[in-house]
Symmetry: C2
Subunit: 333 residues, 2 copies
Amino acid sequence: MKKLINDPKNVVTEAVAGFAVAHPDLVRVSLDPIYIVRADAPVAGKVGIVSGGGSGHEPMHGGLVGVGMLDAAVPGAVFTSPTPDPILAATQAVDGGAGVLHIVKNYTGDVLNFETAADLALAEGIEVASVIINDDVAVKDSLYTAGRRGVAGTVLVEKIAGAAAERGDDLASVAAVAEKVNASVRSMGVALTPCVVPHAGKPSFTLADDEIEIGIGIHGEPGRERIKMEPADAIVDRLLGPILEDLPFASGDKVLLFVNGMGGTPQVELYVVFRRAAEALAEQGIDVTRTLVGNFTTSLEMQGMSISVLKLDDELTTLWDAPVATAALRWGR
Amino acid sequence: MKKLINDPKNVVTEAVAGFAVAHPDLVRVSLDPIYIVRADAPVAGKVGIVSGGGSGHEPMHGGLVGVGMLDAAVPGAVFTSPTPDPILAATQAVDGGAGVLHIVKNYTGDVLNFETAADLALAEGIEVASVIINDDVAVKDSLYTAGRRGVAGTVLVEKIAGAAAERGDDLASVAAVAEKVNASVRSMGVALTPCVVPHAGKPSFTLADDEIEIGIGIHGEPGRERIKMEPADAIVDRLLGPILEDLPFASGDKVLLFVNGMGGTPQVELYVVFRRAAEALAEQGIDVTRTLVGNFTTSLEMQGMSISVLKLDDELTTLWDAPVATAALRWGR
């Protein structure tokens, strides 16, 4: 294992400390318990939004903390849910008196620990709503999940819910728009290579030199099938089929098309993928009106990508276009 | 070789086509000859800025085209200089009557081809100035270079010169500030893994499972030495030493610290690196007043990173802070 780390057990703490030094205009951090909050937290009268989960998926979630998106991110150890304590501390740190929304990816540990933290916050008088994200159409029930997994669609939920909170929507409304995004987005991914969790020191699974995993999970959980390598266009079509059938998307829909890198994929490949995905949607009469391309929901150095398609209406489009200022995503300010 | 591509010879064209569909608000592209220009090019009365070079380093340069940065980027084949024709076409496309600046990384092919294109443009009445970037302190003379190589410092030159052009500086002034940034920035990188050029189909060099290359070039050119893997903090210190000695940087300096991912490095590692780099500069009394972290000058899927340190003064700081809207870098708008 070759990684730019010191002691594997200090990776997350050192990275969060580095993040704080790199982005003092955007965030503050706590290292014990470990969480990241926007620099001006808590914002009085604003719904606070907290997300989190295992580390190794950066920039999600720490890189998405800032004006117009998350108020706090709670990173666990790599690929390991954070415990209730830091989630509670982050919830308290961003409570501006209007309640707090927890955005939780659907993994058993995350769901349980956020639930416990929400109960503890409630006992202290902080109103908490929770939205569970489960956008991955690849498989139902998986290594760490009952039901579908939450993957890159989470980024879209966080952007849009963040914009709703920023403009002053109340907790029920912010939770409702987050639910609406989750209900309107579908995702599926592919892995070309596995990744190495620092404290494990070896690849989380193996793939032959000519094999890829269709429907991969963001922790390397098994997908739908393992196939021989194919041209990019064919792989894109394999992912888009199940995505489009599932909602289902239909001719005339306006959508946001999101091609997400898994961490180790050259950017040139992401745009080759984007080209075919946009073309395939056009062939079905689906209108790509908003786009996102890049490494947002990663699996350390895994090579691969996921495609997410979000059905837009005027409300979601307006919130998507609203100003945002985070380390990983910013525009309009 | 597993890559998300179709025919290797179409990678750049397909990626640029995808880039155009993904970012219609920011850019327009030409596919024959191949170049990317900002959506509103040419901007009358503004100095145009053109950069380019081999593909495989994305988001540099196409992802840096937009308001406040580059007017055009000219991508060659992967790791191969573009020919004079597309450089000339891009220069014509962004000529707003105030002249055009070519920002050229110091590789023999790039220097020659940009020079030829500049001569051709001049023959058509377009005034062209050129700045050669050579920020890499690792080695003098290399596989594709006489003198020092141009690496990630190029991104800083492009941001700052772009801001100067955007505010209306004339060609000589924009060229002068680009030269000043090049004279004030020093960089050095490390590779943990090689990368695979699509049309070659095999790694550009080999590294043992416990080896790293200190001073790597962005095309995998040899660096200063090949050593056994070390903790991140020790590697950072190995890079910062030559960087700081070279200018030299001194106690009391204000600097921009830029940790650049080579493409395949998990973001969590870049922040572990950033933490130590900032700490090491603080130990020497050097004040980090601006920061940049992320994949900007990549080598396909190479794992590794480079550190760049730019000495700032009020002028450079003001230009760094100016609004920018590109696919890879945006703030202030």
